[in-house]
Symmetry: C2
Subunit: 103 residues, 2 copies
């Protein structure tokens, strides 16, 4: 399992429109082969900065399948006009995890 | 709830020692007031880059209490020698979340 992290800077004042677009696009990710889930985080210090975190079975599911799909084009159509620049993307693997929460 | 994200670059070859240090330090975070849990992620593209993600009840629990505690000093003592530079820190709030996994 790998997390695709996109650091997305949106144009000032477009934060709400961007979040609404991501919410609308969620099914596109969730129905993609190998997608386990996603979350959107907003930076407290720089509110125009968002972190889209999508969990994939493998990096190949993300890069070889989803990025080349029509759903990826649809995703970019929903939110691309909010981007202030090209998103910076990396993949991350969870090495350690621990929680005080039940479950 | 807020996630404190520290981007930590470690010295080349010290990745395993750093991960072992974080594992040892986990109880220091988990017993801190307001800490809900933590995870350590490693960047796939740049393996010397780690993301320590600690979930706090509020930013104040992290900044006003933990950072000033003896446990914070103990944490830095366990891993500080692995750092290639000063960690870059930001706080993030979860705006949207969705999963294909059960539960």
């Amino acid at each position: 399992m790998v997390t695709n992290v996109a650091v997305i800077e949106v144009k000032p004042g477009m934060e709400r429109e961007f979040v609404a677009g991501v919410e609308q696009a969620m099914p596109l990710f969730l129905r993609a082969k190998g997608c386990h889930g996603l979350s959107l985080e907003q930076c407290v210090e720089i509110p125009e900065q968002f972190f889209l975190r999508v969990r994939w079975e493998s990096a190949a599911h993300n890069q070889n399948l989803f990025v080349k799909s029509d759903d990826f084009k649809a995703w970019r159509k929903l939110v691309g006009h909010c981007f202030a620049g090209k998103p910076k993307v990396h993949h991350a693997e969870t090495v350690l995890t621990s929680s005080n929460e039940g479950g």
